[in-house]
């Protein structure tokens, strides 16, 4: 047999194996499509649609023009227009929006030549969104400031040829720079690393738990080790329960090591409760272990397990806001993000570690994660195939 024929046989063999393992075949085509779609539509472009709230404390043409300018900028997605500055700040703190643009009460008063102080409360825990919002908002209000200044000068009948007729005491500089933009970073100066660390921990737990369960259930099933255990008078729940606790201890330990390393090596500061952070790690690990059991319950080999979870876990990593804020993604990805547990793990860990949030602030995340965990475990244990 010639070498070419041998090579052709190897190719043919691999293709036949692939064809006969449908999960692998589906994964082979589905996985790259999902990934390229995510990158192309979700991650590849500039940051847009950052949710903001505008607080207007006066009515008039300048406010209208400002709102039109903000709404016309694709960076902003104006979620609401309200009148209470405190409520605006609360919306930022609760994570509903990334920034509150608070217009002052003298904003529409052209006769008031004192500076108009606009406050922008920014969710600095989302470093990426904050890093875009701040310069963009500064640019926007510089433009508006100039326009207001010119309008004010026109109100004073001021022209460049009649400087002498300018009323006494007029501060030209103030008029031209009529807006004073005050950026208020609600959580201080948070770096991208600070932003990344909680989600990296969540992601590490995801992969550790899911792939780990694949190894200790699908892998052991494939190697016959699980059969040895099932030959003994032992229930599925005991075997699976033991594996859950074992994995839970490992992954919680891994999460804690990651946090300690981040604190010691990169000076990451945990603003919230360390105990709550650890409890969230445990809850996240439980949830992902449940997911691993659910998939491994029916598959007979580790290879099939890997091919079954990859099209779910890899996109989950990109869609769940590990690297980019969810709110800045196209709406379809936002919808997908909210049906993925990693989103809630990331959100809760960021809230506690960066914003110092308590249980009351993240209860929705906790409830959703508990729900996911219960669902995965119920499906995993009821569908678990004891037959080996």
């Amino acid at each position: 047999m010639s070498e070419t024929k041998k090579i052709m046989w190897m190719i043919k063999k691999d293709l036949l194996v692939l064809w006969r393992h449908k999960p692998r075949l589906i994964s082979l085509f589905l996985f790259p499509i999902i990934m390229i779609t995510l990158f192309g539509y979700g991650m590849g472009g500039t940051l847009n649609n950052v949710p903001v709230v505008v607080v207007e404390q006066s009515q008039g043409p300048i406010t209208d023009a400002t709102l039109t300018a903000i709404k016309g900028n694709s960076l902003y997605n104006v979620k609401d227009i309200i009148t209470d500055p405190d409520k605006g700040k609360q919306m930022v703190q609760s994570g509903q929006v990334k920034a509150a643009i608070i217009l002052p009460s003298n904003y529409d008063n052209l006769n008031d030549t004192s500076q108009k102080s606009i406050v922008v409360d920014v969710d600095s825990s989302d470093q990426l969104a904050a890093s875009v919002i701040i310069p963009a908002t500064q640019g926007l209000f510089n433009q508006i400031s100039n326009q207001i200044g010119i309008q004010e000068l026109q109100t004073l009948n001021f022209t460049s040829t009649s400087v002498a007729s300018t009323p006494q005491g007029t501060n030209f500089q103030n008029i031209l720079n009529s807006i004073n933009l005050q950026i208020n970073k609600l959580y201080g100066n948070i770096t991208y690393l600070d932003f990344l660390v909680p989600a990296i921990i969540g992601m590490t737990i995801l992969f550790g738990c899911v792939f780990g369960m694949g190894e200790i259930i699908a892998g052991e099933r494939e190697r016959g080790e699980l059969a040895r255990l099932f030959m003994t008078p032992t229930s599925v729940s005991t075997v699976v329960g033991g594996k859950i606790i074992s994995k839970l201890v490992q992954e919680t330990g891994r999460g804690i090591i990651l946090i300690v390393a981040a604190v010691l090596l990169f000076g990451i500061i945990i603003n919230g409760s360390i105990m709550l952070t650890v409890l969230l790690l445990i809850l996240g690990a439980l949830c992902f272990i449940g997911f691993g059991i659910m998939i491994s319950a029916r598959v007979s080999s580790q290879e099939d397990f890997m091919q079954s979870v990859m099209p779910i876990t890899m996109p989950m990593m990109f869609v769940s806001g590990v690297f980019y804020p969810i709110e800045t993604m196209p709406w379809i990805f936002q919808k997908i993000a909210y049906i993925l547990p990693l989103t809630y793990v990331n959100d809760a860990l960021r809230a506690v570690m960066l914003k110092g949030a308590g249980v009351g602030d993240i209860w929705i995340d906790i409830v959703v994660l508990l729900g996911f965990t219960a669902l995965f475990f119920a499906l995993g244990v009821t569908q678990f195939n004891r037959d080996v």
């Binding site: 190697r223 016959g224 080790e225 059969a227 040895r228 255990l229 099932f230 030959m231 003994t232 008078p233 032992t234 037959d387 080996v388």
Partner: protein, 363 residues
């Protein structure tokens, strides 16, 4: 409890494929039972159902007096299994694997330690007790697997091709162990493709083919049945030949009556109870062959190289004695002598060749 295992229409289906079809068999307590069948015949599926590793689609069975469907945990308490592929944890030591199994069977610590020591000594693996299983040779792994399977002292031990790939010495050790375990009162179910092993060890044999029990008897019984069947078949064929020849003679198509009588005589001789005798004579010569050809108990002699002759002789002890005496009297030096009965392999081939026939119920 008379039977270690009883099955009642035990059936396993995978979609449209029936792996085991309404299996009914009874295996005596304290026996060594050989469960044979070609690859894919359904024996591993049957063993998995009996060891409660998979659920039967329909029917059921009693193992050690417990129903496999309703009392799987009681069954598991009473059985041990040495699977074909060693299923111990490769990254644990032999002792750790044995302890793990002991704890899964709920043995108290002191009993666990003493039994582990005792069993490891019995199969001669104690010297490797602290080695990782993945570092062991095939034979040592199999010994470790046996220890893990026996740690809870099961009444019934299933061995699924336990000696496959093992060297002859290790095979002997395992065979001795099987016999020892059986002498202690355990029932052994042995799945094997090694007919010599089965013949050596087993009191009873079941052959499964295409999911149905095709034969069930003692090894001797199976051979006798085969001899009987072969004789019946030969007799039927020869009777048909004689019948045709009689008809031909009546129609005068066969003119040479003497030739016809000779053929008929030969056929009748063949139908007598003959067996094959193979003798190796170091100084075989023409004179000795002539003497042997004159003996009435010998019907045919075929001479092979190196002084071996294969004879069709009357199937009686006297005829064998007569032939041996004749050889010695004529100065023959016999170096080996053997009569040939059908082997278990012949029985296996014969039974499994009947692909579409119905299963045999031993009841």
């Amino acid at each position: 409890m008379k039977y270690a295992i009883e099955t009642f229409d035990l059936t396993k289906k995978y979609d449209e494929f029936t792996a085991v079809d309404a299996l009914n068999m009874k295996i005596d307590n304290n026996s060594i039972f050989g469960f044979l069948g070609p690859n894919g015949a359904g024996k591993t599926t049957t063993i998995k159902m009996l060891t409660c590793l998979i659920k039967a689609t329909s029917g059921t069975g009693n193992v050690a007096g417990y129903d496999i469907t309703n009392n799987p945990n009681e069954v598991r308490e009473k059985i041990g299994m040495v699977p074909q592929l060693v299923s111990l944890y490769g990254d644990l030591t032999v002792r750790e694997n044995v302890y793990l199994c002991a704890d899964f069977y709920g043995l108290p610590t002191d009993l666990k330690i003493s039994r582990a020591d005792e069993l490891m000594e019995l199969v001669d693996i104690k010297y490797a007790q602290n080695k990782l299983v993945k570092q062991l040779s095939g034979g040592m792994k199999q010994k470790a697997s046996v220890v893990a399977s026996l740690i809870h002292q099961p009444d019934i031990l299933f061995l699924d091709e336990p000696t496959i790939g093992l060297d002859p010495t290790t095979k002997r050790v395992l065979w001795d162990l099987v016999e020892e375990l059986n002498s202690e009162g355990r029932t052994i179910i042995l799945c094997s493709h090694d007919m010599y092993e089965v013949e050596l060890l087993c009191d009873g044999i079941g052959i499964i083919n295409n999911g149905v029990l095709a034969a069930f008897d003692t090894p001797r019984g199976l051979k006798d049945t085969m001899i009987k069947e072969q004789k019946e078949l030969k007799s039927t064929k020869d009777s048909n030949v004689i019948k045709i020849m009689e008809e031909l003679r009546k129609e005068s198509s066969v003119e040479d009556s003497a030739a016809f009588d000779k053929i008929k005589e030969n056929i009748e001789i063949r139908n007598r109870d003959l067996k094959e005798l193979s003798v190796m004579i170091s100084n075989l010569d023409e004179n000795m062959l002539n003497h042997l050809n004159k003996l009435p108990s010998i019907h045919e002699i075929v001479e092979h190289d190196s002084g071996r002759i294969v004879m069709d002789i009357e199937s009686s002890d006297e005829s064998v004695n007569q032939i041996i005496s004749a050889i010695i009297t004529n100065g023959g030096n016999i170096t080996s002598i053997a009569t040939k009965d059908p082997s278990l392999e012949d029985v296996f081939m014969s039974v499994t060749a009947k692909k579409e026939e119905e299963g045999v119920d031993n009841e």
